[in-house]
Each structure stands twice: as structure tokens, then as C-alpha cells.
Symmetry: C2
DNA sequence: TCAAATTTTTAGACAAGCCTAAAAAATAAT
DNA sequence: ATTATTTTTTAGGCTTGTCTAAAAATTTGA
């Protein structure tokens, strides 16, 4: 149906669109995909001809309904495969991204349906990101992050905003995972850094980190 | 490591080599891969430069030790994924080939190790083909086919030589699968066709079919 | 054995996807 | 408002893997 490259561009545009609201710039795509701006221009024209994005010269792009659907389907596949890797094959959550990045391009509706059933129709991936349904709808999205908590508040980690390997390994090292209970013992209002208790141990956390941990 | 195309060529050459023993011809590869002979010549030169095949102009190719290993690794992945699709996702054996054809190119040693463990280190895929181990060794290979049986002999289906979808569907329709008990009721020595009993039902089978069913 | 048929290779072209370098447009700064 | 800077696009080129058409080598067969 669509090439590996096309799918990757659509996915990148989808994610950038989520962050920024308005049209996505050529440079932003290039940076995210670790490619050159000129390559992005080429591809964006191609996607535009296929009615997957709306592109106006010098003004960036946004996905069409069709383009959004393609992107969301890839994301659905990615996240289902991540669940498989962690739940069934016992990978840790910081090891699965690169493999899922490959698996997400396997073409077969039936495969994904059956995988979904096999996994028990999960609603979130191992990083806490929501898994869209077949129609491309996201059930819900996280909004509260650790840095929103006040002193003495208690939260449960339900996901992470950032999925970079280093960050995930940092969390693993300090026994932070989905379901972890986090108590705010102290908070420095000046820089937002906080002292928290996790799994019986105290830990000092910077705002950068606290901003990337979703809690309920 | 190696491109999708390279892997497919190596796999094709491996299979052709199994059938024919001596050097594999350009045309044979082209036919098997549904491509043109000129494309094969190009690729074969490339593989030769990478020391994956030995290529002598106008005389065909054969795999080097390294090339064989690459091919066998792809085959191992293909067959393990087929087991996953049938055993875990409940695909029928005639539906898995095209999907496994994609999955076999996923790059990750660790993934295959873990998949192998998850599946219980199977030795045969759903078609009865042997799954090579990590080192590239095949445990054993089938040798007796249904057409070798005499009247009143009883055999157990342990695999199929041909994995074409149509053939597999024919087998499914007549309740022939791995483990099926087959009794030869009558055999026409002239053309090798036979009347057999399978799952309590009588069935007339041509030599072409009987040649493609491995039994023990 | 030598012409005919077949197989294989070469030569040149093309699409996808990427790149560099330079030009054009948009944005920021004085 | 008009430079200066940044962003984006264009132009042209490269690699991979494919193709067609023609040339060369091999095999077949009379």
C-alpha cells in the first residue's frame, strides 16, 4: 500500500502535529526523522499528490483525514507489537522501540486483528501510551504529570511522555515503572525539582524528569 | 546488515541449490523470484563482491559458507514466525506464508532467541519443514513420501514438500494435516495414483499430490 | 561441425529516496 | 524599511534495484 518511507513520514508528521497544533514545518520533520530538509520537501510533495497531506509551499504541512488514518494505523501496530514484545517475549520496556519500529511496517490487517485478540485487546502500550482502535480512535490521553503534584501528594505512574532509551533506563534503575506509587516528600518551588519516595527509597528528581512521567 | 533483496536472493539460491545439487543458473533464480535474468546477473555480481556467492560468468552460482549462513538464518526466522502465526495467533497453515515472508526480514538476534524460547524451541514449522538451529544446522530432513507406500501400508503425515497456498487448501479441504493417519487402500501401479483412507473417508489421490506429502 | 535456439550478459534507462550546493522566500534585526 | 539571518525550495547527482533491447556465449541438433 504505502512505502516504508511514506509511513515513517506520516507517523512523524502525526506526532509533530500533536505537539504543535498548527502546520508542521519542513525543518521540524527533518530534525525528527534525522534527514535533510530537501529530502522532506521531496517526500512532502509526493504525499501531497497522494492526498495524504495538505502542503503549501513555505508554510508547512498537515495530515488529511486519509493521512491521519494511515499514520494512526502504523502507530496502532507499533504499540501492539510493543505489548507483544514486553508481555509475551519478556523484553524490558527500554529494549522494544527499535524492534517495534520494524514490525510496525508489516502489512496484514488480519495479523493485527489476531495479534490484538491474542494480547487481550490492550488499551495502552508498555510506556503507557494509548493504543488506538481499528477505526483510529484513541480511548483517552494522559494529562497529569509528576511535576503537577504538590508536597505530600501521592501519584501512580501510568505512562511516560518521552520514550528515549536513556530515560527509560534511568527509570528502571530507580525502580520506576507503570503502576509505581510516587510520594512527593519535598518540592523546590524555584526550579520545580522534587524529593520523592518510590518503592521505599528516596530519590531526587529534576523538573525535566518530573515533566515526563504521567501519573493519576 | 544485508538488504531485503539480498536476503531474498540468498534464500532463493539456497532452495534451488537443495533441489539441484550443482551450480544454480541465472534463469532458475529469475523464474523463482519472478524477476528478469538481467536483474539476477546484476545482483549476483553484487553478492559475489560481498563473498556471499561464488559466481562464474555463464556458469551459475553457489553459496559460500557465509552466504549459506545468511540464507539459513532467514529461513530459521521465516519458519519460527510461521509457528508463531499458527500456534499462537491461530492462523491456518495456508495463510501464513506471505506474512512470514515479511517477518523473516526483521533484524534482531535477541528477538529470534526470545521468540524461539516463547514457542518452546520447535523443530518443525507448520508445514513440517525443519527449523535450523542458531548455528544453521538442520536436525533432520524428511525422505519418505506418500507415493512410496504400498497397498495396506499406513503412514503419518509429517510434512509437505510444496507449500503453495492452493495445495495446502486442497489438503485442508480433505482433512489432511500434520499428524493425519493415511492408509493406502489401493494403488494404480500404472500412474502411481492411489485410493487412501483419511479420517474415516476415502480419497483418490494423484501421484503429483502423493509425491508432495512427507510421511513416517 | 556448424547453424539454430537458448541462455546469459551488457548497455542504457528509470523510479524511489536520499544527498549537497545554490537560489528563493520568509522572518528577524537594525 | 531595508539588511541580515534563517528556512525552505530547487537543481542536479548518487545508490539500489529494477527493466528492455541488443550483444555475446553456450548448448542443441541436423
Amino acid at each position: 500500500m504505502y512505502s516504508l518511507s511514506e509511513e515513517n513520514y506520516l507517523k512523524a508528521i502525526f506526532h509533530l502535529q500533536e505537539e504543535s497544533k498548527d502546520a508542521v514545518s519542513t525543518n521540524a520533520i527533518a530534525e525528527r526523522m534525522d534527514t535533510k530538509a530537501s529530502s522532506v520537501t521531496d517526500m512532502v510533495k509526493k504525499l501531497s499528490e497522494k492526498s495524504l497531506v495538505v502542503y503549501i509551499k513555505y508554510q508547512g504541512v498537515h495530515l488529511t483525514e486519509e493521512g491521519r488514518l494511515v499514520a494512526v494505523k502504523v502507530i496502532r501496530k507499533h504499540r501492539l507489537w510493543e505489548v507483544f514484545l514486553v508481555d509475551k517475549l519478556n523484553f524490558s520496556w527500554d529494549q522494544v522501540h527499535d524492534i517495534a519500529e520494524q514490525l510496525e511496517h508489516i502489512q496484514s490487517e488480519k495479523l493485527i486483528d489476531k495479534l490484538d485478540t491474542f494480547l487481550g485487546q490492550p488499551k495502552f502500550d508498555p510506556h503507557g501510551d494509548p493504543i488506538p482502535d481499528k477505526q483510529g480512535n484513541f480511548s483517552q490521553t494522559h494529562n497529569k504529570v509528576l511535576s503537577d503534584l504538590r508536597v505530600t501528594n501521592i501519584g501512580i505512574c501510568v505512562g511516560v511522555k518521552e520514550s528515549e532509551e536513556e530515560f527509560l533506563q534511568y527509570l528502571s534503575r530507580h525502580d520506576i515503572g507503570i503502576g509505581s506509587q510516587i510520594t512527593v516528600l519535598n518540592k523546590e518551588e524555584y526550579d520545580g525539582s522534587m524529593l520523592v519516595e518510590i518503592a521505599g527509597k528516596e530519590l531526587f528528581i529534576s523538573v525535566e524528569i518530573a515533566n515526563n512521567i504521567y501519573i493519576n
